[in-house]
């Protein structure tokens, strides 16, 4: 089995979640099946739009401060990150660190039963990659 298994989801930042979700449904027929408001106390709201074996995650900041809000101010609407599934987050992190990639400390993911860590954008050619382990 490959260590980096599949694209679990793609995160897209928006300042208007309702309008973004309406556009994704109109354009491609992708429907929001689940919404989380302030998951794990974070200052944002998300919608999950399943597609194939993956999903699109639309995220809207609800606050002016916090990790997501800061990045949103800098980068604006559009692609935010991609999330890649691994079976063993600790093993994947150890492997990447040994290869010289910078990876953040693991933390609980907003989707129940998940644990995540982020590869630094500088290691991944400008792409913010989240590794996600599902239990």
């Amino acid at each position: 089995m490959p260590m980096f298994k599949r694209i679990d989801h793609v995160v897209i930042a928006t300042e208007d979640l309702a309008d973004a979700a309406a556009k994704w449904e109109r354009n491609l027929g992708l429907k929001a099946t689940e919404r989380l408001s302030r998951p794990l106390g974070a200052g944002f709201e998300v919608a999950r739009l399943p597609v194939g074996d993956a999903f699109i995650e639309l995220v809207q900041p609800l606050e002016e401060t916090g990790r997501f809000a800061e990045q949103f101010k800098e980068r604006g609407e559009g692609f935010f990150s991609i999330s890649i599934e691994v079976d063993d987050l600790d093993a994947a992190m150890g492997y990447l660190q040994a290869k010289g990639a910078r990876v953040s400390e693991p933390e609980p993911g907003i989707w129940p039963g998940s644990r995540v860590a982020r590869i630094s954008q500088s290691s991944a050619h400008g792409v913010s990659i989240q590794l996600i382990e599902r239990r």
Binding site: L28, V51, A54, A124
Partner: protein, 133 residues
């Protein structure tokens, strides 16, 4: 009907350097690479699960990907969804008045493809593709 994420496209300055991370470090197999003169890119497609990662290096600074790099730097460039019938999908979008880049499907790396205008999806460049058998 949209079936799955076909690929995510990533704009990079150097394909060779990007392959060092995506192919050598992440271990994703390269299943195709090509120079597409009319799109002004050198591209490599790497398999990840049922989808792909497409790395795009511009052939010139004036190409669309070249301008993207100039404006935004390296990073996620577009997302492509697979559909069994790109013609029907495009006609449906026209009927709904959705902003488009392509009025007709054309041949691309992923098969017959078309691009929606980023305005249609609040700043996200979306591609649709029907792979050629």
């Amino acid at each position: 009907m949209i079936q799955k994420i076909h690929h995510v496209g990533i704009a990079v300055h150097s394909l060779d350097e990007a392959l060092r991370f995506y192919s050598e470090t992440l271990g994703l197999p390269v299943h195709a690479s090509a120079t597409v003169e009319e799109q002004g890119v050198k591209a490599a497609l790497l398999t990840i699960g049922q989808s792909e990662i497409e790395l795009l290096e511009p052939l010139s600074p004036e190409s669309p990907v070249g301008k993207f790099l100039e404006r935004k730097g390296e990073g996620l460039h577009h997302i492509c969804f697979q559909t069994p019938d790109v013609d029907a999908e495009l006609e449906g979008l026209k009927g709904k008045g959705v902003e488009l880049v392509d009025q007709h499907p054309r041949k691309g790396l992923a098969g017959m493809i078309c691009f929606l205008h980023p305005k249609a999806s609040r700043g996200v460049l979306v591609e649709l593709a029907t792979p050629l058998e």
